[in-house]
């Protein structure tokens, strides 16, 4: 079953196209990532899913409901953690949980939620005194208070230290285990790679790629990177003509060749043929970072 459906979504602000024909479907229980540079239209896209914005064009459905017109139904099945949204500074964690629980007809068990999110020691703490990680955990708790089937998490770990970030990640993983569908907006590759079943890479308001993290990495033009320091210079033209080679660059005495498995094999033969010794030879797999840069960076602007 489809939890989120976005089809031909268009949204412009003052004539500037922010989202330009975005389509994707998120299956129930899936963790779906939206990745992209700032201004790619990520937040606008999810805001249309949340019902905070009305699309200029296109179809958006959450569990079959239209966020623009069926607000009551959508808010019942959808939990939202917003980017850059606070609470009243002097509201305590317990009061926030009680308040937001009162908004739902059948709220989730607050105590269990507080325990699961490690908020119990902070129940009497005011929002303004919480650390960034604690605030985010509270926001996740608020998003889950309505016992939603779908959760949108927008820039969940921006501004968190690595430790807090990891804590939040394991929360999202436990969320997946309970069968909740997650739409995750992020610009951290590591986060997307670790958490998401599938990722849509957004660039300039369009989907540049939509695949599993492994699939995206495989699409990187240079799936392998060969890096070495040669004792005698190798003709860059020879390197560039290696099968599958897509890039050759030299920096600080090291030469880096981007290519495929085939390039690696050919490179080794080249070394033998030329009698060159390649010191500090390294062959590394491309990461989601590389795939992302290929997908969003090479576009001439």
């Amino acid at each position: 079953m489809t939890a989120i459906e976005v089809r031909g979504l268009h949204k412009a602000y003052g004539g500037r196209k922010v989202v330009d024909g975005v389509s994707f479907e998120v299956g129930e229980g899936e963790v779906f990532g939206i990745l992209g540079p700032n201004g790619a239209g990520k937040t606008t896209t999810v805001e249309c899913v949340e019902g905070l914005r009305t699309p200029d064009e296109g179809r958006v459905r959450v569990c079959g409901y239209d966020p623009a017109t069926q607000r009551a139904e959508v808010t019942r099945v959808l939990g939202v953690q917003l980017q850059q949204s606070e609470l009243q500074a002097k509201l305590t964690v317990r009061e926030a949980l009680d308040l937001y629980a009162s908004f739902h007809e059948r709220p989730a068990d607050r105590q269990a939620l507080a325990e699961r999110l490690g908020l119990v020691p902070h129940l009497r703490t005011r929002f303004g005194k919480l650390s960034g990680g604690q605030q985010q955990r509270l926001f996740i708790a608020l998003a889950l208070l309505g016992d939603p089937r779908v959760v949108v998490l927008d820039e969940l770990t921006t501004g968190l230290d690595p430790r807090a970030r990891r804590e939040v990640w394991s929360l999202v993983e436990s969320l997946r285990d309970t069968g909740v569908t997650v739409l995750l907006v992020t610009h951290f590759m590591e986060e997307a790679q670790r958490l998401c079943d599938r990722i849509a890479v957004l660039d300039q308001g369009r989907i540049a790629a939509l695949d599993t993290p492994e699939g995206l990495i495989g699409r990187a033009s240079a799936a392998k990177e060969i890096s070495f320091a040669a004792n005698t210079p190798i003709d860059p033209a020879a390197l560039r003509s290696l099968p599958g080679a897509v890039s050759v660059r030299t920096a600080e005495g090291r030469t880096v060749v981007g290519g495929t498995d085939e390039t690696v094999t050919a490179f080794v033969s080249l070394l033998a043929r030329e009698g060159v010794t390649a010191g500090q030879l390294r062959v590394v797999d491309a990461t989601l970072d590389d795939a992302y840069l290929d997908l969003t960076g090479t576009d001439p602007r």
């Binding site: 949340e50 009551a72 808010t75 939202v80 949204s85 509201l91 308040l99």
Partner: protein, 247 residues
């Protein structure tokens, strides 16, 4: 619990956690009256210019209006625009409850705070300075409620035209001083020259001052004064609805 009640309860709690707002809204109006009454002896003497009344008698309605200016124009707009700026309204709009519940709670809260503070002024005025309680009580209540409504509506309009909390505070202050003047904080409206009184009577607080004064001395508040307040309330509410942005 009903969501609107829960929101009101949470906002009331938050209000009690703001010492500044508590002091200025709940205590400072009574304090103004006490300081003037205690330290300016002439204020406690009957004056022929005022038709045999004492200045302190005139300052009770002034302090009452001061309370609602503090609540509606000084305290409320920064809170509301802060809620908007910090995404609190936005977060609420992703829940089954509409963010309007928060605005309604704020209006109710500051309206109630103004009324409680006004009652305190009346009681202290009666006990400390022997200022008679309003003789035409229904008339006084009607005038007071309309005055509170116009004060809250003005405050909402301030919030609606201000895009940030800082601007709301600044615009609030710009509106604050004229309302203080027209409420008679510096010179009671009844002690102003006739022409000035007539002009001030066209402002919401000036009209409120005249209406409260009439009701205090036993008359029914003038329809003109009540009408001026109702008109300002309607205009400010219209402006708020027209220009308020949820984000």
């Amino acid at each position: 619990m009903n969501p609107s009640v829960a929101v009101l309860r949470a906002e009331t709690r938050l209000f009690t956690r703001e010492p500044g707002a508590l002091f200025w809204v709940m205590l400072s109006p009574t304090l103004l009256l006490v300081v003037l009454g205690a330290f300016v002896p002439s204020f406690r003497e009957a004056s022929a210019d005022l038709g045999g009344r004492r200045v302190i008698d005139l300052y009770v309605p002034v302090a009452v209006l001061f309370a609602l200016i503090m609540a509606g124009i000084q305290a409320m707009p920064p809170v509301l625009s802060g809620y908007r700026e910090r995404g609190i309204l936005r977060r609420m709009s992703t829940t089954p409850v509409r963010p309007g519940a928060l605005l309604t709670a704020q209006l109710a809260l500051h309206g109630a705070a103004a009324l409680v503070s006004a009652s305190l002024v009346l009681v202290v005025g009666r006990i400390a300075f022997d200022v008679a309680l309003p003789e035409n009580f229904p008339g006084y209540l009607l005038a007071l409620l309309l005055a509170v409504a116009s004060g809250l509506a003005l405050g909402s309009a301030v919030c609606a035209v201000s895009r940030t909390q800082k601007i709301a505070t600044a615009v609030g202050s710009a509106v604050f001083f004229p309302t203080m003047f027209t409420a008679g904080v510096w010179v009671p409206v009844q002690a102003m020259p006739d022409t000035l009184q007539r002009i001030v009577g066209l402002t919401p607080l000036g009209a409120a001052s005249q209406a409260l004064d009439s009701a205090a001395s036993g008359d029914w508040p003038g329809w003109a004064a009540l009408g001026v307040m109702a008109l300002w309330t309607a205009l400010s509410t219209g402006a708020s609805v027209r220009w308020f942005r949820w984000e």
